[in-house]
């Protein structure tokens, strides 16, 4: 499924812990245009729940996918508005 996602930008927050992955994701999304997709690379296991919670509680974003790849957690967030 991930192969099908057309990533516009990648945000590398590897090493950063709560709340930085969410806070930086929000800033990065602000810089995107509607329909563009942000890939977030994190090593924070809490980011799986946090980015999911942030995306469902925030207007104008949609979480397309989350992939756990060993110690790396990848998130795909689309700006929808």
């Amino acid at each position: 499924m991930t192969d099908a996602i057309d990533v516009t930008e990648t945000l590398d927050v590897k090493g950063a812990s709560c709340p930085m992955p969410v806070v930086k994701t929000k800033s990065a999304i602000d810089d995107l245009a509607e329909g563009e997709v942000l890939e977030v690379l994190s090593t924070d296991s809490g980011s799986m729940s946090d980015i999911d919670g942030w995306a469902s509680g925030t207007k104008g974003v949609s979480l397309l996918d989350q992939v756990e790849d060993g110690d790396l957690y990848k998130h795909y967030v689309e700006k929808t508005a």
């Binding site: 969410v22 806070v23 994701t25």
Partner: protein, 211 residues
């Protein structure tokens, strides 16, 4: 709902065909009978949802935090919650009073201390924790942990919070009580506010916290 009128022509035939006399039992209970009625019902419900959304959607969520503590451990929760809430698009006000002012103090914020006494989770017993210099030791241990874990520092959290539009307020009465100067605080900090301002924000907020 305009479809309703158009569809009524079909329904009597179908009702009659289906069960003759039974149809009238749906007396105003609006039990959908046909696909067209279901469609109309869906449209009606969609309208209701839109109306409710409009009612609920009176601007972004609001949060007010009252930050009263200036120890290293107690400075984190308000900053983490404030910066995260701002990332959710919430309007956030953090009202700093008493030792909470130290979080906004440019010099002191980078040097907040941990209290070793009265915290049973500390690695030293209280009798030893009370010895001079012990706070510095436990603070150093904590600072090392923060560094090892790549946890954001207090200054980083203040910076991102202000960047994301969190309103950081410094209570005027306690600024004077603690003998601080307005220039001691970070640039975007709001001064000249008091309890009434804090209450005003709390009354308008969906989330209110005292830390």
């Amino acid at each position: 709902m305009s479809t309703d009128a158009a569809e009524t022509e079909e329904t009597p035939e179908e009702k009659a065909a289906a069960s003759g006399d039974e149809a009238p039992t749906a007396d105003g209970a609006d039990v959908p009978q046909t696909e067209a009625e279901l469609q109309a019902r869906i449209e009606e419900l969609e309208d209701t949802v839109t109306t409710l959304e409009r009612e609920v959607d009176d601007g972004p969520m609001k949060m007010t935090i009252i930050a009263t503590k200036g120890t290293l451990d107690m400075a984190y929760p308000p900053l983490i919650l404030a910066s995260t809430a701002a990332a959710f698009g919430w309007d956030v006000v953090v009202f700093h009073t008493f030792w909470g002012l130290d979080i906004l103090h440019e010099e002191k914020s980078s040097n907040l201390q941990l209290s070793s006494v009265g915290n049973p989770n500390m690695p030293v017993p209280n009798a030893l924790a009370a010895l001079p210099g012990m706070d510095r030791v436990t603070t150093k241990m904590m600072a090392k942990k923060i560094d090892d874990n790549n946890t954001a520092t207090i200054e980083e959290l203040i910076e991102v919070s202000l960047e994301q539009g969190v309103e950081m307020q410094a209570c005027q009465m306690t600024i004077e009580l603690m003998d601080y100067d307005e220039d001691d605080f970070y640039d975007d900090v709001t001064v000249g506010v008091g309890a009434a301002t804090a209450l005003e924000h709390m009354a308008e907020s969906d989330v209110q916290l005292l830390v």
